[in-house]
Symmetry: D2
Subunit: 397 residues, 4 copies
């Protein structure tokens, strides 16, 4: 890590402490919209600092390297609101990266520009309720070219951030007969006001319907028509583009999770140091509590080093070259996060269950870390497959 990155991370850490954490109590009690005005204000300060969109290339963003942003993402991840303040929330940041790389000049002007400016939001529609996320080539949403229009029909869910988004990037089967199943799909930009695109519902997740970018929708597409020019990147390259996005995206998630874990670690230490079990005998004097702390310390340290290592490997060899490292951190760090969160709640007792602290929010919403972007089971098989291949065994996924 360069001294510049270290300084930046330190400054951002202080900024998060001063500007973002104070909004959390209201957020936890009244939801995202209650803090939106405050967050807009914070966003102005972020822009004023020159920190806007750290991982995106110029002209829209700061252009930090993956490993530099990984470090920053940890700091932003300490709060559920951190990434939004820097306009790096999912799925917008991923959509921006894809548009920057694959968008036509017209697509950039119309979709990327306002998105990067924070004026609109976007969503990404990939998963379908009838098909397993672990099998990306098995889907049912189709897009057929009729004249100069794509006619799209399908059913998606867990379409993150659909509510309030201006457009949705939809993964569609466009070439169902292509011999290579990984070349059958394309990504198409669908403005959300297009007739035939219907939000069936917001999916209530872990007790919350969610709001805005923090929500997941079930949507239907019925004879949805968009211009031919809304194809994003090349036809048949839908999976390839998704893959490009998911590799670094997993590193972003992992570093964000480390931020959460680190925050929880600090909270559990602080509470253990202060809370008394009996007069003069703090919780932290109990060895069982000490060992929860020690295990968390070790695991977070391991996770951080592994994520930085994977980020460096991606920088040197590309996401494909670091595929094993990315899969390893996906399940390892998600596991660390879950265990650290669990310990932090246990140390806080009843208070840890309550929404007075962000622990419960993290506990509920980050259970999904072991599921989204490839479940643990999928990534473990990827890693084992690579290991066994070195000894001559080819295993199918």
């Amino acid at each position: 890590m360069t001294p510049q990155t270290a300084d930046l991370a330190k400054a951002v850490r202080a900024f998060v402490e001063q500007e973002i954490l104070p909004l959390e109590a209201t957020f936890l009690k009244h939801g995202f919209k209650a803090v939106l005005p405050g967050l807009q204000n914070v966003r102005q300060k972020v822009m004023a600092q020159g920190w806007w969109l750290p991982p995106l290339h110029a002209p829209e963003g700061m252009g930090l390297s993956l490993s530099a942003f990984a470090r920053l993402s940890e700091e932003l991840g300490r709060s559920p609101l951190g990434h939004y303040a820097f306009n790096t929330q999912a799925p917008d940041i991923g959509n921006m990266e894809v548009l920057q790389r694959h968008g036509t000049p017209e697509q950039k002007e119309r979709f990327l520009k306002p998105l990067a400016a924070g004026e609109i939001r976007s969503s990404f529609g990939m998963t379908e309720p009838e098909y397993p996320g672990s099998n990306p080539v098995w889907m049912n949403t189709t897009a057929v070219l009729e004249g100069d229009e794509w006619v799209i029909n399908g059913h998606k869910w867990y379409t993150t951030g659909f509510e309030g988004s201006a457009f949705c990037i939809v993964m569609c089967v466009t070439d169902p007969e292509h011999p290579n199943p990984y070349a059958r799909a394309s990504q198409i930009i669908v403005p959300t006001d297009t007739p035939g695109l219907e939000q069936v519902r917001k999916i209530s997740v872990m007790g919350e319907p969610g709001e805005d970018w923090m929500s997941h929708s079930e949507i239907r597409l019925h004879q949805v028509r968009v211009p031919r020019e809304n194809l994003l990147g090349q036809r048949g390259r839908g999976f390839a583009i998704a893959q490009e996005r998911l590799g670094p995206g997993r590193i972003h998630h992992c570093m964000r999770w480390i931020g959460i874990a680190q925050r929880c670690f600090e909270m559990m230490c602080q509470y253990a140091a202060k809370r008394e079990l009996s007069p003069g005998k703090p919780l932290g004097s109990r060895q069982a509590i000490q060992h929860l702390i020690a295990d968390a310390k070790a695991e977070i340290h391991a996770a951080r080093l592994m994520v930085l290592d994977a980020a460096e490997k991606v920088e040197q060899q590309g996401a494909e070259g670091a595929r094993v490292e990315i899969s390893v951190i996906k399940y390892f760090v998600a596991g660390v996060l879950q265990r650290v969160l669990d310990r932090a709640i246990q140390v806080h007792g009843g208070l840890g269950m309550s929404d007075d602290l962000p622990l419960s929010f993290f506990y509920r919403h980050e259970r999904a870390a072991r599921i989204y972007d490839g479940a643990d089971e999928v990534h473990k098989t990827v890693v084992a497959r690579a290991a066994l291949k070195e000894y001559g065994l080819e295993v199918s996924l």
Copy 2:
């Protein structure tokens, strides 16, 4: 288990399937009050079957033995609504047991009778926010006898079911100078309309403020005056009475948790058998999924046998004689529950995160199982202390 108990459990299982599970979807989407009319209807059917208040002695209840009710409680626990339908929800059932055993005839007439009839609800105020739940003798709520009235001042939280309750049984320090710290407190019945008793707020827990008996309140008592006759049991016996209640209460919890775990187990098996990863290849054909199922099967079986064993020991030797067994099941079964829930969610993937299924509800609310009624750490120390005592070592808690 007698054949009668087995038959009863089977009948109750069918009843839960037919009458209670159909209410769950509405409950999960719209909350408890949305299903209250339906539940009132179910309660009539329960009464008609002669199944009302199974663990309570006559004349109010069926008078099942602890081990017979343990078996039943598993069936009721399969749904978040099961116990309410039989009027055995916490903390009402515990309050009824205490009133039946320690209440004066007047207390029984005024408080127990309508409670047992399901006409009113009650609450129990023990935990205080400033003091650790693990140290029961350290509390700050006091009751001073002035003339014929108890004057109560204090601050409680996690007062379960306070909202909508007709009265609250409040643990108060009445004899602060008693040399035995365990003889300093008493339980006093406080009608909730008594001046000075204020609900500060419902505590939002794991994302939900809760409703009715499914809520936890923070309350303040400021110069609250109740008649001398509202003392429940003997003065200075507050802890002893609480202990009496907590022993069997923990067994009830454990068996309810097994019901939850069993339900989740069935759901994960069913989903694994049906959901296809690719055409013709169900999830259950994957060995990683199979082993999650096998581990759950073994752990639930272990937990069930241990709870029945503890219930039998309580019947034979009293709660005090079975103290070690009760502590053992408290942490063992809570751990099994958490792991089984986690596996069930993992098997269901994104669907498991959603509120379309009860998994998320259980996952969120039962994280507390390892905390309430004595955290894991407390019970483990109780068990170790008893083991070490046999070798001559006296360890303080």
Copy 3:
């Protein structure tokens, strides 16, 4: 458990304490043969007590039920020498059961009688080095009937107790073309002095070559000829007979493991109560140690109840009816044993690593518990398969 069984278990426990544990130090230092004279003496006392061969039917044994012997086996399992003293060591006890059930009068006279009298020992040859133990139908040892003789050729290893045994029961393929792969093998009694039967070596296991019944051999059979009458049970029933033996055999193992775990538990409590970390501060005052004790207590209790439950189910429904329960205890109890042993060693520190105590012996030799008689992975799949079948999914092993 009947009072008689409880009394017997108590008496046997005292006997083990007084007669067998004192031999352990010599055994651990100098091996089995160094204590053989002492053990012969103990065997006389066992016979005098009427405790000889508890699980075997009359006339050879006491005829205890499976669940009564399960309880006794725990007591014997507390020492590595316990089962030998009662003539119930593997594989002899299994061989006796098979001979009692399937042996001809001549086989009983020649092989069972001296074995039951403790005059000879026996061995069982099933596993082959080139084939996985998890696939019983894939083996290479063949027996061909030539005239009145079986001519056997093959290669076995992990032939337990071969050294010093008078005969070996060998699993051989006799009907390689039978359409049902489970009907291709037979068990044949081979006296160990038969020409062509060669002990290649004793397999050194976990640092020890082993001695006598406590050893495992690699053997080769080259044109070994035994009389036709040496067929044990019916031709083609080799697997069926093995299966009959393995079910109760696994229960015996599990209960023995519980005896080991219980012994280790007692040792760790005793050491924690006595050993001081600093003057006046015993090891057991440390919460981390207490929680190791509490976890061990809970797991041993779970394991014991599950084994007794499985034994009762076998008595009621036969080994086939209790197949799932037997598989469950096989991996659950083996796991408990490994964890308890690990904790006991950790509590004892350097002393736990040494051969001054039996912990190291158990730690080394019982690692195999998760492997022999079906590895964890195999039994978990058996259990999951049964669970998924209830939801309509047929999974192959």
Copy 4:
């Protein structure tokens, strides 16, 4: 890691494969002395390569940095014989480092020179059977200055490598009245032929009495007299010198453990790729096996990065500045090692239990990794103490 270090590690890896692994079969079957002639030969080749004593400064050694040697130590750790071949086996390497830093010119001439040349061996006597290793200041061996001689009395065990050693560095209380308990002891060099120094026995550990440097002795010192000049370093600095040695020593251990874990990982992958469960179906096609591999991969990767990170911190800030990092890796890596070993054995089944492979050797002897040089429990408390201190809580060890 510099390219030079990478090249060196690669060369050493090849050397270990070609020169050392071929000696293992004989070592596992017949013990250390059986391979000693072969190892002497290998040592000549090591010297010829210029690789002798990599971590020791000139003139005796190569003078590799800690992090460079850490990398090398992984390669040497892949075999139980690797470190001996490079003369970096414990406790000799630690003794050499201490002598190099604190020895007088005479001590260096007499003790360091032949030790560094591989002509003699040495031992280190610290732990006492009556006192816990976790409390270094509680010991009973004393040295009293009478005229020009130290007169030593005491009792030690786990004196590693005592058998066959030319001298033993003994930790003795020399200043029992010093107010600072950490300033009461000194290290004194005792030639093993000094009258009064008696080897009571070699301690049999995990089934093996051990040989030579691979053994642990119990020794007694009765009126043992050595010249005043045999004091190593300053009087009263015994603990300080030991601490200096233990910090980097723990890093050496950790990297050696990673070498073992990596070797086991490779073995399990290779076996899983080759061994068939049924014709054409290798073990590695089973998902349960794949996930054991994936978990091992992730954990070893985590461990390696953490050890390198700790080594760099020691280089930058000294062992005291990296105390938390060293404690973290001590328990984290020891835990990884134990789990990887366990998985490797499970994958190998019966073969993994046998001494045909080095798995069993590692499994038995490295169980001590969680005990020696500070048990897990001690290091976890060190880490938690440092974390809690940042929040104002001072916890005693």
